[in-house]
């Protein structure tokens, strides 16, 4: 199953950053196991642009549409057997301790 893992920041991280797992090691390990297909860190929300079309009119605005304190700062595309495996992959990601990880399975559109 493919999962999009959104990496989200927390407003006030309460973890000692020196105790976080090494992200490079995490990437290398999960890439070599075939569990991580791709992933990246996103630019800041100040670089974001929101695009909408309403009544046929294109609306482009600066910033993310919803102004929230916690933002998506990156993503990883995972390929795991099931949710339990995806949770295991997520639990070892440094941002699991400093922020939050949201696992979203890809919708099955085959029907």
């Amino acid at each position: 199953m493919k999962y999009m893992m959104f990496v989200c920041s927390d407003t006030e991280p309460d973890t000692d950053p020196t105790e976080l797992p090494d992200i490079h090691k995490w990437v290398a390990e999960n890439d070599s196991q075939g569990r991580r297909l791709t992933g990246n860190v996103l630019g800041s929300t100040s670089a974001a642009t929101t695009v909408r079309v309403r009544d046929g009119e294109l609306l482009v605005s600066e910033g993310p549409f919803a102004e929230t304190a916690e933002v998506i700062v990156g993503f990883d595309l995972l390929d795991c057997a099931d949710l339990d495996e995806a949770i295991e992959v997520a639990r070892t990601h440094p941002m699991a301790r400093q922020g939050r990880l949201e696992l979203r399975p890809f919708a099955d559109l085959s029907d």
């Binding site: 057997a81 099931d82 949710l83 339990d84 949770i87 696992l103 399975p105 919708a107 099955d108």
Partner: protein, 412 residues
């Protein structure tokens, strides 16, 4: 399939009910494993019970009721899938699923054990909301009809049907595996499973609760204990349930008023349940939260009278419990235990400490505890006032009556 002589309709209905309790979750578990389709598995299991209700009065109860139900459910599933025609491999697996009709006892092989455990652990997966876990466990593992679950959880039947459907869909879409976790993950997940059982039991046990919840929780704890005899916290939870449950018939007087432990007629306690609980507690080899609670409950269950209760042992157990699972309610119970073990003054000191954190603010039982301690110190008017204060704040009518009765006695 060999059958006994035709039975009366009532006897047949009872046989269906009895076989259903044991066979339903087994059938559901097996069909989910083979087809992966939760709704199909439940429908077919239900269907097999319906067919049994039609056939058994005339044909007689089969020698292996569980195997009979399994065969009917399996054939029904094959029918449904054949009509869908796409599920070739599942059809093949289903066809291979031949229950052992000859044995009088349904098979208790490793597969069956695993199937039912899988079912419990999947229903109680932490990625499901707690309410969804409870509902799905009742429906799938206990076979409680959706209408009854809706009534127990105070929602309409259509709402519950939608919730259950959504939960089954979520299991499929989120990729929640139908599996018992192994190694450290099992240890991590087991408390969640036990918490669902504890919640079920508590809902059945509280003053205005539905006894059926407690019955189901006891049944599930027994099942889990049989499937995981090496897990000592499971045995502890089962023991705890059995001790509490043994008092079910003695907790109210003829007028329906709740009776405290001190006032219950101990001859009405279920001695068999207590013996079963003690046997389970005997296998507990650790000091987890359920173990301490079970030891406390055992002290009450084995005391010949309220005066004979071993309060110092109970007080020590609450000390340990407060250490590993600190909570306002445990701190309150600890104050009660110390109050009986070492005198009301000792209890009041701990009650003050328990209230200091603010966690007991607006908790009427904390006032009732104070009332009891003050009464035992001899200040009857103040105690009566406190009991009335607690009665005014308590939510359940049965508890309010009990507290007002205590106040009335102190006025005399």
């Amino acid at each position: 399939m060999p059958t006994r002589a035709p039975a009366g309709a009532v006897a047949a209905a009872e046989a269906v009910a009895a076989a259903g309790v044991e066979a339903y979750p087994r059938i559901v578990a097996t069909l989910i494993r083979v087809t992966g389709d939760w709704a199909l598995a439940e429908d077919c299991a239900q269907e097999s019970l319906t067919v049994a209700l039609e056939r058994w009065p005339a044909d007689g109860v089969p020698t292996n009721p569980g195997g009979w139900l399994m065969t009917v459910a399996r054939n029904r599933a094959i029918d449904v899938l054949r009509r869908a025609t796409v599920e070739r491999r599942k059809l093949h697996d289903l066809a291979l699923l031949t229950p052992d009709d000859a044995s009088p006892e349904p098979q208790v092989g490793q597969d069956v054990v695993d199937d039912r455990l899988r079912l419990i652990f999947t229903c109680c997966h932490p990625a499901l909301a707690l309410e969804a876990r409870v509902a799905l466990t009742l429906r799938t593992v206990c076979g409680v009809p959706t209408a009854d679950i809706a009534r127990l959880l105070l929602v309409s039947e259509s709402t519950m049907t939608r919730r259950l459907t959504r939960t089954r869909t979520r299991i499929a879409q989120a990729g929640i595996p139908y599996r018992v976790p192994s190694g450290p993950a099992l240890t991590e997940r087991l408390p969640g499973v036990l918490a669902v059982l504890y919640l079920l039991f508590t809902r059945g046990y509280v003053a205005d609760g539905e006894p059926a919840f407690a019955d189901e929780a006891v049944r599930l704890a027994r099942l889990l204990d049989r499937l995981m005899p090496e897990q000592s916290e499971v045995a502890a939870l089962l023991a705890l349930f059995l001790f509490q449950h043994s008092r079910a018939d003695a907790r109210r007087d003829a007028a329906g008023t709740l009776l405290t432990l001190q006032r219950q007629d101990r001859d009405r306690w279920d001695r068999e349940a207590i013996a079963e609980g003690l046997a389970a507690l005997d296998r507990v080899r650790h000091d987890g939260p359920y173990a301490w609670q079970a030891r406390i409950a055992a002290c009450h269950a084995t005391a010949a009278s309220a005066d004979d209760t071993d309060w110092p042992t109970i007080a020590r157990a609450y000390d340990a419990l407060a250490d590993i699972r600190p909570s306002p309610v445990i701190a309150l119970n600890r104050a009660v235990a110390h109050g009986y073990a070492y005198g009301p003054a000792a209890g009041l000191v701990l009650l003050d400490a328990a209230r200091a954190g603010g966690g007991l603010d607006g908790y009427p039982l904390s006032v009732a505890v104070e009332a009891d301690l003050v009464a035992r110190q001899g200040d009857r008017p103040r105690a009566a006032g406190l009991f009335r204060e607690a009665a005014a704040a308590v939510g359940s009518a049965a508890e309010r009556r009990a507290l007002l009765d205590r106040a009335g006695e102190l006025d005399r």
